[in-house]
């Protein structure tokens, strides 16, 4: 029986359905290149949108740290007599294989951007960019989360710049009219970072330290004394953003996951809203549509959907299910998260109203309405979707956040972004569609919350996956 380290890592991190998805995307990528190569279609205006999507995916890869560790690795793998260089190389290669899926997926967008002679190098450049992301994620692992986010933000700005200005010295300039420059930079940066990861393997203690770093004391806590269970749900969700949960390692409980005070989240949102408003003042009217598309994609579609999908991994839901009926618990939890999300989006809603008053352009009014109507509805979709598609509470089954297993089901949950985002973006450009979309989304969300069968099915799905 041949059992290699690489196959162990891959098999325990990726389901067969996900491998199938990678292969499908690879085949689609080859097909796209083959049929697009004879045609010339350079459209520069699309660069910012494509680079925005690429940067968002890069953000997911880098913040998620690309290398997925499990408790089982620390329990049995890292205490095995395997050279650190071999461990490091195999984990790194596995991360490259897994994240290559994104590169293959993005090839589909390339025909919009490139002269045909450069489409093949551009496809390779996409893979180089993913290799840069994965390498950076591995290197940044030893840095505190705050510094990591700062470095990632700088890198993402570097990725985005070629889309808005004529800037050739960036890994993404290959997709923004500088195929030669971009390819050289991609090759140089990715090979350097990959080599660094391969030649300087971290010691096991580094992996462990990076996993347990940051588990310090909570500076500000919430008191639930005197609260009813329903009151506690609202108090927690309206005072905090993200999830705080505990993982027991031995006799020590450690707090994990993000725990951000709502006030901080609102301040960040205000800063983003100010930047957003200022951008409209200085950017020519002809280029405003790019910002509008970004706003809709991230503010109305991706952000609320991700908030909705991520709730299940950090909530002690099975505790709450024992103390409240499913219908009561899920409805109030969903509503609490809706209110929490609207609070964080409120500065953006206000800025859009102000912009409408200043510019008298209907699109700002539409974006305010869509944020108010679509964002909560999209969050509800994500909330219930997570419970059915990926009902595992990561904490409870001995996995360590953010580690999880790539599965086809997880990817399906993420793919719901596509139709939701498409409808949201189309609503900007088709007059009146935003009203119909808003009404339809609200109606579906209300049905999800109202139907008792859905709450009971959700409860059964979660319990059967976590407690049996």
């Amino acid at each position: 029986m041949r059992r290699s380290l690489f196959s162990l890592i891959l098999r325990t991190r990726v389901s067969s359905s996900f491998i199938a998805l990678i292969i499908i995307f690879l085949l689609l990528a080859v097909f796209t290149i083959a049929i697009s190569a004879p045609h010339a279609r350079p459209i520069r205006a699309e660069y910012p949108v494509f680079l925005g999507i690429l940067s968002f995916i890069s953000l997911i890869v880098m913040v998620g740290s690309a290398l997925i560790f499990k408790k089982s690795d620390f329990d049995f793998l890292f205490t095995s007599p395997i050279p650190a260089s071999s461990l490091s190389l195999n984990f790194f290669l596995a991360a490259l294989v897994i994240n290559s899926m994104y590169a293959f997926f993005l090839v589909y967008f390339l025909p919009m951007l490139e002269y045909p002679v450069f489409i093949i190098p551009a496809a390779i450049d996409l893979w180089f960019v993913m290799a840069i992301n994965v390498s950076l994620a591995a290197i940044l692992r030893s840095i505190s989360i705050r510094r990591r986010l700062l470095i990632i933000a700088i890198v993402l700005v570097w990725y985005l710049v070629p889309g808005f200005f004529s800037f050739p010295i960036s890994p993404t300039s290959a997709f923004a009219g500088y195929p030669i420059y971009g390819t050289v930079i991609d090759a140089a940066v990715s090979l350097s970072l990959v080599s660094y990861n391969v030649l300087r393997p971290p010691r096991i203690a580094y992996y462990y330290r990076s996993l347990t770093a940051g588990t310090a004391t909570i500076r500000r806590s919430i008191s639930f004394a005197g609260s009813t269970p329903i009151g506690a749900i609202y108090r927690f969700n309206l005072k905090m953003v993200g999830g705080a949960s505990t993982l027991r390692i031995g006799n020590v409980s450690k707090n994990y996951a993000g725990r951000l005070n709502m006030g901080v989240a609102v301040w960040v949102s205000m800063a983003v809203a100010v930047l957003y408003g200022v951008a409209f003042i200085f950017i020519p009217e002809a280029e405003r549509s790019i910002i509008e598309i970004y706003y809709i994609l991230y503010g109305v579609a991706i952000y609320p959907l991700m908030r909705g999908i991520n709730w299940i991994q950090t909530e002690r839901i099975w505790l709450a299910l024992m103390s409240l009926p499913a219908t009561t618990y899920f409805r109030h939890m969903a509503l609490a998260k809706v209110i929490s999300t609207l609070i964080t989006l409120l500065p953006l809603i206000i800025v859009n109203f102000i912009l409408f008053a200043v510019f008298r352009d209907r699109i700002f009014l539409e974006m305010s309405v869509m944020t108010l109507a679509l964002s909560p509805s999209v969050l509800i979709f994500g909330f219930y979707l997570a419970g059915f598609v990926n009902p595992y509470q990561i904490i409870d089954i001995g996995e360590l956040p953010p580690s999880s297993r790539y599965s086809g089901r997880n990817f399906v949950a993420g793919l719901t972004i596509a139709p939701v985002a498409a409808i949201a973006v189309l609503s900007i450009f088709i007059p009146g569609l935003y009203l119909y979309a808003s009404i339809a989304f609200i109606a579906v969300a209300m049905i999800l919350i109202a139907l008792p069968n859905i709450q009971d099915s959700l409860k059964n799905s979660i319990l059967s996956h976590n407690l049996l």
Partner: protein, 236 residues
């Protein structure tokens, strides 16, 4: 040379001091219990010995080797508390993968042997995520010993196991001819398994000696052994 050398080790996690100059040696083929209250530093000690974390200062050796070294890992078997085999693999796959990576001789026969002795035969093709906690613990023990280690580091090894299984495993351990350092806060497990004890509290060694000495003290003071240990910890 002792099989386990742990000298003046300091380890802090942020502002919390887990180990404060802890020192002890374990001779080869000796079985020693590491006893202490919650948060005493037992698990931290074992993780340092297993090479998972580095001490802030001090000297640590396993069989004369640095715990982080390949040589140390070849001769060392580590069972953490609440060990978690790979949940998405089957019982047999877990054993085969870990056994192969530890270059176990006669792996196929060894896997069959461990499946039998741990009474996991009927679950051999079952995913670990479907196993009860007790069966997962049995598998974890099997994974820790698959390569016939000479030095065993065990953190609460008998958790979740029924009494017949506990007896069977203790009997197997005693036949292994290895050095044992067993972390536990349950005295009855220490008594069945080991002859010597190290009591630690707040990251420091507060008592070391034979378990028989603790029993004698308990007779003299008309207390249970646990009472004697509590008293020793309270005085430290």
């Amino acid at each position: 040379m002792s099989c386990i050398e742990f000298h003046e080790v300091q380890k802090s996690f942020g502002s919390k001091k887990a180990l404060d100059g802890l020192s002890f040696d374990v001779e080869c083929q000796e079985s020693v219990a590491l006893i202490g209250p919650n948060g005493a530093g037992k698990s931290t000690t074992l993780k340092i010995l297993a090479g998972l974390i580095k001490p802030d200062s001090g000297e640590v050796k396993i069989g004369g080797f640095d715990p982080d070294s390949i040589e140390a890992k070849r001769i060392m078997g580590y069972l953490p508390e609440d060990a978690s085999p790979y949940l998405t693999l089957s019982v047999k796959e877990n054993l085969e993968y870990i056994g192969a990576l530890r270059k176990t001789d006669g792996l196929e026969q060894k896997v069959e042997f461990l499946l039998n002795i741990m009474e996991l035969n009927e679950y051999r093709n079952s995913r670990v995520s479907t196993l009860s906690r007790g069966n997962r613990q049995k598998l974890s023990i099997a994974l820790a010993i698959i390569h016939d280690p000479k030095i065993m580091l065990l953190d609460e090894p008998l958790n979740y196991l029924d009494i017949p299984t506990q007896e069977r495993i203790i009997k197997y351990f005693k036949g292994m001819n290895a050095t044992f350092l067993v972390s536990t806060h349950i005295m009855s497990i220490a008594e069945r398994f080991t002859k010597s004890a190290l009591i630690i509290n707040n990251g420091r060694l507060v008592w070391s000696g034979q378990i028989d000495e603790l029993k004698e003290m308990s007779r003299q003071e008309d207390m249970t052994v646990e009472g004697v240990i509590s008293k020793i910890m309270g005085e430290s």
